[in-house]
Each structure stands twice: as C-alpha cells, then as structure tokens.
C-alpha cells in the first residue's frame, strides 16, 4: 500500500488510542458460568409448564399412562422439591422480614407471597414472588433468581425492590446490578435505575429513580407521581387493612403528586382528603371518600 503523508500520519496516530486494561479473565469466566446456569434453570421451568398444558388434549389411554407416570414423577427429586417448598405469605397490613440461610434479607410487603425450595442455598437460590418485596441479596457462588409473572430477575449480590402485582410490574435498584429477562428481552438495571410497566418490559423502559428514599413502603411513605387515586387507595387498603369506597366514582381518575407519610392511617387519610379536596368518613374498617 502506498500512502501519502497525511495517510501516514493517520496510520501512525490511530494506534495511540488508550484502551482500559482487560479485566481479570478468570473472574469474568466465573460470572459467565453463573449466567449460563441461570439460563439452564429457566429452560427447565418452561419445559415443565408446557407439559402441563398438553394434558387436557390427550386420549384416555394416554391419561392412564400419564397417571402412572405421575406416580413415578412424584417419587422423583423434582417432585420432591415441588411439594416440599417453603411458602411465606403476608396479609393486609402485614410486613414480614425473612432472613434466608445464605444471609439474604427479604422484606415482604403486605399481601405478598414468596415460595422457595428446601434446597435453597444448597444447589440453587431461586424464589418465586407475587406481590412486592425488598431484597438485600448476599453475594455467593449461586446466582440468586426471582421468578415473577412478568419475567425473571437474576442477581449476584445487591439491594433492590420488586413489585409484581396485577396492576403492573416495577423494579428499582438501590445497589449493584441486576438482570431482567422476559421472553423477548434481557436488560440490565444498575444502581439508581428503575422500570415500571403494565405488561412486558424492554430496554427503553429504564428510567432513573426519582425519589430520595426508595422504595417508599420500606420508609413508611407513599410517593405519588401523577399516581391515580384508586391506585394509591389500593396501596392504602393493603397497608392498613381497610376498605376504601368512593361515593363519586369519577374521583378514582384523579391523579396525585406528592409524598404522604404512611405511619398513621388518620394522617394518611387526612392528607388524601386535603389533596383531593374531598372529606372522608371512617367507620370500622371502611373509609368512604365523600
């Protein structure tokens, strides 16, 4: 190749870009192996579910065969785990702090459920979550995974909040990094990042956490940012185990922005009343917004 002077200069100078040192390859490999395991775990779960769906379409003979198969399946280690799992539930107005054998701390918000196997921290660290919980995951060799109806979350060691309720899915990270996967996407959330979706999530849903003390419920506060009044009220119902009724159904569509102290029910209701400019009446467990 014949180069003129300008090209020669470009040729020389283009090698001078400074690149960061290559990370420790063994450590990267260890992390990669963990991610590969998570991938295999998820694979197993989908397979199991699809076989359940096949059942109703089968003929009689096959049903008998499956019945025998089921008896054998019950004796298998997989079924053992399935039936010998631990379940922790909270009702309205209940929070529960769970300390797992690996040192991981889970604070379960009201009306929520987690399920995990007896072999937790022996050959896996997988749990299932319905509802909302705050996680402080201890780092160890086993990847920590959370299954929700919206997708799977996998982490190594970090603190974050997950809300997986009927009205939507929300995840915010206070420390470290986590990975979220659903059928179509796999995205990373870092410290200070947050997603809130109604159905499936993707990369573009990532935003920064806008509130100071996240998550609000751990700090006994309700953070509202153009939150619909009925959404806030169902949160109040769960937190204080009351029922809230609206005299005027149109009120449900009001949106509220602000921070509400959530330590005392009367204070909460008073604030809501101020914000909506509507009075309330509290009788036993039923609050009516007039």
């Amino acid at each position: 190749m014949k180069l003129d002077n300008k090209e020669k200069l470009i040729w020389e100078v283009s090698t001078q870009t400074q690149l960061p040192p290559v990370p420790d390859k063994d450590a990267v490999w260890d992390r990669l192996v963990q991610e590969m395991k998570i991938d295999q775990n998820n694979f197993g779960i989908t397979k199991k579910e699809s076989s359940w769906k096949l059942w109703p379409n089968m003929g009689n003979k096959i049903n008998i065969a499956i019945a025998y198969g089921l008896i054998f399946a019950l004796l298998s280690p997989l079924a053992y785990n399935f039936f010998f799992t631990k379940k922790i539930l909270t009702g309205n107005a209940q929070n529960e702090t769970i300390l797992l054998s690996d040192g991981t701390k889970i604070i379960l918000n009201s009306k929520s459920k987690i399920i995990y196997g007896r072999n937790y921290n022996i050959d896996n660290r997988s749990i299932k979550l319905t509802g909302e919980a705050y996680f402080e995951v201890e780092k160890n060799d086993l990847p920590f995974t959370i299954e929700t109806t919206y997708g799977v979350i996998s982490v190594l060691g970090t603190s974050f909040n997950v809300r997986s309720r009927e009205d939507g899915f929300e995840v915010g990270v206070n420390d470290g990094r986590i990975k979220l996967s659903n059928e179509s996407y796999s995205i990373h959330l870092s410290k200070g990042q947050f997603i809130e979706v109604e159905s499936s999530f993707e990369e573009k849903d990532i935003v920064d956490i806008s509130i100071k003390e996240y998550p609000d419920w751990i700090n006994q506060k309700f953070y509202c940012n153009e939150t619909r009044l009925d959404e806030l009220c169902s949160e109040i119902e769960r937190t204080f185990d009351i029922q809230i009724k609206f005299l005027d159904q149109n009120l449900k569509n009001l949106t509220i922005t602000g921070i509400i102290e959530a330590s005392d029910l009367n204070d909460v209701l008073y604030t809501v009343s101020l914000l909506t400019k509507h009075k309330f009446k509290l009788e036993d467990d039923i609050c009516t917004i007039l």
Binding site: M1, L3, K6, E7, L9, I10, W11, V13, S14, T15, Q16, T17, L19, P20, V22, P23, K25, V28, W29, R31, L32, V33, E35, M36, D39, S186, H188, E203, K204, I206, V207
Partner: protein, 181 residues
C-alpha cells in the same frame, strides 16, 4: 480458517463447556478491547463482552463451525453497542438533553496537544463514520497490531479484501480530517 477454531466450535455446538472456556480465553481480550474502543467505558465494555459470550452459549446449537467466530462475536457485540446507544439517546431525549456519546470532550483543553486531538478525532470518526466491517478490520489492524493475512484468517476474508477495507478506512478518515491535517 484455522482447524483448531473449527474443532472448538463443533464441540461448543455440542454443549462442551471446556471447549467454550477455551474459545472464551482465546477471544476475550481482543473482543473486550474491540468493544471498549467503541463504547469508551470499561464497565460497559465488560458487560457487553460478557453478554456477547452468553448469547453465543445460548444459541450454541445454531453455530456454524465453518464460519469465522470473530465475525460472529463482532456482530453480536456491535448490535449490543447499538442497543446501548439507542437507549441512551432515548433517555436523553426524554430528559430534553442533547446526546453526548461519541463526541469528543476534553478534561483540560489547555493541555491537549495537537496529536491527542488528532487521535481523538480519528477515534470518533472510526466509531461514527466507518461501516461495521470496515471498522472491525481497522481496529484489528491498528489497535491489535494484527497483520493483514492474520485479519483475513480471523474474519474468513481474502487478504485483498482486508487491504481494500483498510485503504477505504484511511480515505474516509483523511476526508473527514481535512481541518486537522
């Protein structure tokens, strides 16, 4: 195309983890630096490099051992970089800010020498103006110091093509660097 690489790929296709580790060891450094050149951030480069290898493993059954492995991982990682840039752009637009990735910026303009500025401009033009294949070849040549026959072997191309692509890169750079030369 090297026989060893082909054999490793065949084994990985059959879920051989030891072979995958070997492939990882052989290609990690080059891919990390390749991605780091593109995204200019060490942590992000580490993530993207790891995700690239993870995707190879997930899709191992569809590997084609006869095809160049570096071309494959270069393509996967480049797409991941695009995803990242698109995401930043969306976020910045959301916050009504101008995107600032890939633009040259100096901590202390007084201390920046002419050569540094030229280097920075080359870096920016390689990232922004060169087509993917041309950029891969240019980076392998200039940053990794690979010879043209080596690059041809890695990417399963003819030496002639490699030479042409490098020449093309130099032309694009020269054209865009008019104010600096």
């Amino acid at each position: 195309m090297k026989e060893i690489e082909k054999n490793l790929l065949k084994k990985v296709k059959n879920s051989d983890k030891t072979a995958f580790r070997q492939l990882f060891s052989d290609f990690y450094d080059t891919l990390f630096r390749f991605v780091a050149y593109r995204v200019r951030d060490s942590d992000l480069a580490e993530d993207i490099t790891q995700e690239t290898f993870l995707r190879v493993w997930k899709k191992r059954e569809s590997l084609v051992p006869e095809k160049s492995f570096f071309s494959l991982i270069a393509r996967i990682s480049t797409n991941l970089c695009y995803d990242h840039f698109r995401h930043i752009e969306v976020r910045n637009r959301h916050q009504n800010q101008l995107p600032d990735f890939g633009k040259s910026h100096f901590d202390d303009p007084e201390k920046v020498t002419q050569a540094n500025m030229l280097e920075e401009e080359i870096h920016r033009i390689v990232n922004e103006k060169l087509p993917d294949k041309c950029r891969s070849i240019f980076i392998l040549s200039r940053m990794e110091g690979r010879t043209n026959p080596e690059i041809a072997g890695m990417l399963d191309l003819s030496v002639r093509t490699v030479e042409n692509q490098i020449y093309r890169a130099l032309k694009v750079l020269k054209k865009n660097l008019d104010n600096y030369l």
